[in-house]
Subunit: 345 residues, 2 copies
């Protein structure tokens, strides 16, 4: 490894997250036949034994990048670290089953914080039917990190990737948008303690979404089982990013109708009061952990079945995939380029 | 999470790594039937689908804790991050198959370092027959971290845990001891660049062992398949620690004969020249990634089969498990307590 600051060509911040993933994908040798979906989707799909398809994913939760000690309790951190992984498995149409927990702890971490992280993680595990199978604990000379690897089951021909979309497919999103971003924005403005919540109930729901997103595990399984969706992805890095990724993988463009975006009520009021555009916030904000998916015309009937079984999770059509490779959003009748998503670098 | 330095009861450094793992194990709800080996062994063993047993493990490699930029190249880091996980799968009698790579990168990391990490990881992957299935990349506000999760296959009744040992079983170790510790000690004294190597070939082999340990994947598989071993563990945290863990899990004691320890030639000379006791270094030093295993009397014939197929990996009997729960090492005819192993806190 080079010493920090030495001149050695481009930095990771020059390439960005997607650039790095592409670079890695290009260098990995051809995968074995047992690897059905490899690098670049929400999760990998493998067939370790004949007929037993498994979804594999990992996502790290880093202090100072993904969470702040004054915004979230230890239990919130543990809950969310597993939730974001479950969201990736759900986005593949899978059912999460077994988790590995890799903890990196600063030396002065109170044991009570480890207890809290575990409490939250086990709460999410119980909601998702997930068993904690093992893991690793080590010291961190820097931030506290909760890195989770998650295994799930999925049936062949029920796997949802990002690349199955076709021009003309409707683009749908679950739940509401902008809540995670509004919750984080409120915490940055007013949050001093993990227990702080706004008085306004709808805004409090946004803060709760930021602290403890509920991955759409049931919906993902339904979309896979019914084969209603042609492509699917979760919104970890925002709606605009997800639309961009699905369109790129499916080799289509996309047109989003901003008027249809299901902006969370609390988020709409919060951003308007701050003089910000709620629609732009809903397009670019992260942390919603909803599902974005495409549905072909022949899948509309199946989608009605899904909606009927989704137990109150709303499903909204927000646009369609297009043969033209452009990515546009129509705002007040004017088409503009879709904004870029969040990058970790 | 508490703010650093606030008084909130015991710290993780008070409990230590094993204490934390025990605390977590005690709080996790009863596992489902599909989880055959859970928290507390080298790896978990699961049966995601009927008859398809899988080994799951994760191990993080943290800058400033597990590696130093001036001692190891980026490729060394990538190689070792996967090797230590493969060692855990081998210690369960499994064959590694699929890896997930979770990279946490400081903002100013050169892309060349990511390339190097991947080079080394893929080199180890090719040696171990492992495919890189996916992963995650995020920014780190602190150290560079390579966290790997590894999946492997194992056959039912071929799983090697730490708990199958019985009093009277011989204790065996593969390869040589103390090489990793000697290599690290030399690097601390003389290493300034990742390419630095000592002139002495045997000491250079120790430095190489520290930088790129070769996990005993073939041997672990042989020990499982032949059912020669009653218990098995890898030496990531040193021989004394492994003996302690196997004896505790098997509810036995252990007696180790220090004269039988296969101390690496380079390590013996290095520690003697430094005025240190090579045997104590071999007992307590980490980073060897050999296998420690117990063999019952009826397994001796099978062990000869294993030795015949182990392609030059030496196997040495170093002591035996005892009914008396004490842990002793006989040094120059005098029995003393086995030293404690390395703890990450």
């Amino acid at each position: 490894l080079s010493t920090p600051g030495s001149a050695q060509g481009p930095l990771v911040s020059d390439l960005g997250e997607r650039g790095l993933i592409e670079r890695i994908r290009a260098r990995v040798p051809p995968p074995p036949g047992s690897l059905l979906v490899g690098i670049g989707d929400d999760a990998a799909v493998v067939e370790p034994a004949r007929g037993a398809l498994q979804v594999l994913t990992t996502d790290a939760f880093v202090e100072g990048v993904h969470f702040d000690r004054s915004f979230s309790s230890a239990a919130d951190i543990g809950f969310k670290a597993l939730a974001v992984n479950a969201s990736d498995v759900a986005a593949m149409g899978g059912s999460p089953s077994l988790a590995l927990l890799s903890l990196m702890l600063p030396e002065r971490t109170p044991v009570a914080d480890v207890d809290g992280i575990l409490d939250g993680l086990l709460e999410m595990a119980a909601l998702g039917g997930i068993a904690l199978a093992g893991g690793n604990i080590t010291r961190s000379p820097g931030p506290l990190i909760v890195d989770v690897a998650l295994l799930g089951a999925v049936r062949r021909r029920r796997v949802l990737t990002r690349q199955g979309g076709r021009p003309g497919d409707g683009i749908y999103v679950s739940g509401t948008l902008g809540a995670g971003a509004a919750g984080l924005d409120w915490l940055r403005a007013h949050g001093r303690q993990p227990a702080d919540v706004p008085d306004d109930a709808e805004l409090a729901a946004c803060v709760q979404r930021y602290r403890r997103p509920e991955p759409r595990v049931r919906l993902g399984g339904l979309l896979g089982r019914t084969r209603a969706a042609s492509a699917c992805m979760d919104l970890s890095d925002g709606l605009a990013d997800a639309v961009r990724q699905v369109a790129a993988a499916s080799r289509t463009g996309a047109r989003i109708d901003a008027a249809q975006l299901p902006v969370a009520a609390g988020a709409r009021r919060w951003f308007e009061a701050r003089g910000a555009d709620p629609v732009r916030a809903a397009l670019s904000g992260g942390d919603d952990y909803e599902l974005l998916f495409s549905v072909p015309a022949r899948g509309r009937g199946r989608l009605r079945t899904v909606v009927g079984q989704a137990r109150g999770v709303t499903i909204t059509r927000i646009g369609e995939l297009t043969a033209d490779r452009g990515l546009v959003v129509t705002l007040d009748g004017v088409a503009e380029d879709l904004p870029s998503g969040f990058s970790h670098f």
